[in-house]
């Protein structure tokens, strides 16, 4: 893995870099590229940009590559990198900020199933106030046209009574819907 040259800065977008730093408040400026995050990351092997490189590219303003990377979606949010970073950079906040920006700017992702998962997961909460695992999983499988890959597990889990069949009962669904409405717009 190599460091990306400062010369790349000529093609970068400084406004993007500034925005990520301001929104995330993650201390990204402190990153000295020690690669502890990448060495600690359980998913780095599957990412197109290792985490330390992604951070460097944010710093250099390489917006398109960063927002379209698989890295931001494959991050399992385990926070091992955050716990071990000697410079106390809140790498998870950077990842979350980038995901939020990629969704707002409708950047097409190479990992399209994961944004669909998040969307489906949140929709279930918006409707029921709580997660209804069974309908969420079925809807996700339909939306990703991936009906059969987990069918054997699904049936086993159903037979074991692992899935609640009926949707959860909650009184305050209107209050939860109101939270979704109020937070729809990006923060001022």
């Amino acid at each position: 893995m190599h460091l990306i040259s400062e010369r790349v800065q000529a093609t970068g977008d400084p406004a993007f870099s500034k925005k990520v730093k301001e929104v995330s408040q993650a201390g990204l400026e402190r990153c000295y590229q020690c690669q502890t995050c990448t060495l600690s990351c359980p998913v780095a092997y599957a990412m197109d940009l290792p985490p330390h490189q992604l951070l460097r590219m944010v710093h250099l303003g390489l917006k398109e590559q960063v927002l379209s990377s698989t890295t931001i979606w494959l991050c399992a949010t385990c926070e091992t990198c955050v716990a071990r970073c000697p410079q106390e950079v809140d790498i998870l906040r950077v990842m979350d900020t980038l995901k939020e920006m990629a969704l707002q700017e409708k950047v097409k992702s190479k990992e399209s199933f994961i944004p669909i998962f998040h969307n489906t997961f949140l929709e279930s909460i918006r409707i029921f106030g709580r997660q209804h695992e069974l309908s969420m999983v079925v809807l996700l499988k339909l939306r990703t046209r991936d009906l059969f890959s987990d069918l054997d597990f699904g049936i086993k889990m159903l037979l074991k009574g692992k899935f609640g069949i009926l949707p959860p009962k909650m009184q305050g669904t209107k209050e939860v819907k109101a939270i979704f409405e109020k937070t729809k717009e990006a923060a001022p």
């Binding site: 359980p42 998913v43 599957a46 494959l74 399992a76 949010t77 385990c78 926070e79 091992t80 955050v82 716990a83 809140d90 998870l92 990842m95 979350d96 900020t97 995901k99 939020e100 969704l103 990992e111 199933f113 994961i114 944004p115 669909i116 998962f117 998040h118 969307n119 997961f121 949140l122 909460i125 106030g129 709580r130 997660q131 209804h132 695992e133 069974l134 999983v137 996700l140 990703t144 890959s149 987990d150 597990f153 086993k156 889990m157 074991k160 009574g161 692992k162 899935f163 609640g164 959860p168 909650m170 305050g172 209050e175 939860v176 109101a178 939270i179 979704f180 109020k182 937070t183 923060a187």
Partner: protein, 285 residues
């Protein structure tokens, strides 16, 4: 002792019902009273915070505010919910803008007067280990266990502030008090892949198989967890290379069984990799 109980979605009616049942049985034996937070909502983990900062915090905050009305600390068993609720409480204290916005977003007052605690912390910290040992009627003698803490009980340390970051001990000490033999191993705080389970099966299969291999490598006969998501991933996605898949148990299932709970066998029926033969072979059930 009385806590405001937040079951969370998977423990209330879903894939981790047996965790909820065993939590309640153990708390009853220990004299810990759990009063469910009325009309709680999903904490949003992990899709809320990673796609919309304010939504993630507002979903968690509604539960914090409801518990504050009960004038009690929150107790919960799901580490993902724990990290969300505790994380929002932390952010509320640190972030002035969010502090101002949150009550309006949830239409409720909130002042962060009460704490959020995982049941592993409560059971480990609020009781003398001898008290736990004294309740054991069916010791887990000789059972070799790999205690698996995963991510959100120990991370991020600034927020959760419980146990050692890299080599936590609380679950090991509790299992030792039940008569079991907790083992030193290297994957205690490794990640199981979390919610990638539904979209990146291959990644999760690799991560959980690595964890199970590490446990097997030190001679563990089962893995103990305190997390519904770790349970779901390890119980369904292990790909043992010529070996048998390792059974996974909630720490409260083992505590309940050791305390002589009558419904212990019922919890174990829910697991895909059955721990029944192992526990029966030691005369534990």
């Amino acid at each position: 002792m009385k806590y405001a109980y937040y079951p969370g979605c998977s423990m209330e009616s879903g894939t981790a019902k047996e965790y909820d049942q065993s939590v309640k049985a153990v708390c009853q034996t220990l004299g810990l009273e759990l009063e469910e937070i009325p009309d709680w909502n999903c904490c949003g983990a992990s899709s809320g915070h990673c796609t919309n900062f304010r939504l993630g915090h507002a979903l968690a905050a509604r539960n914090l505010a409801l518990a504050e009305r009960m004038d009690m600390d929150i107790a919960l068993g799901c580490p993902a919910c724990y990290q969300r609720l505790k994380g929002t409480r932390h952010e509320f204290n640190e972030n002035a803008q969010l502090r101002e916005e949150l009550p309006d977003l949830i239409c409720m007052p909130y002042q962060a007067t009460h704490d959020v605690r995982h049941l592993l912390d409560i059971i480990y910290s609020d009781f003398d280990i001898e008290e736990i040992r004294a309740k054991v009627t069916r010791p887990l003698t000789g059972l070799k266990l790999a205690c698996y803490y995963g991510c959100f009980i120990v991370r991020p340390p600034k927020v959760v502030q419980f146990d050692d970051l890299e080599n936590p001990q609380s679950m090991d000490i509790l299992m030792g008090a039940l008569g079991a033999e907790p083992l030193d191993w290297s994957a205690k705080v490794d990640c199981c892949g979390g919610s990638l389970s539904l979209t990146k099966r291959d990644i999760v299969a690799k991560l959980v198989s690595d964890i199970a291999d590490a446990a097997r490598g030190v001679g563990a006969e089962a893995i103990v967890t305190a997390c519904p998501l770790c349970m779901a991933n390890l119980d369904t996605r292990q790909k043992p290379n010529g070996d048998k898949a390792l059974p996974i148990l909630y720490f409260t299932e083992l505590m309940g069984i050791a305390f002589g709970a009558a419904d212990g066998k019922g919890w174990l029926q829910k697991h895909l990799v059955s721990p029944v033969a192992l526990l029966a072979s030691r005369g534990i059930i």
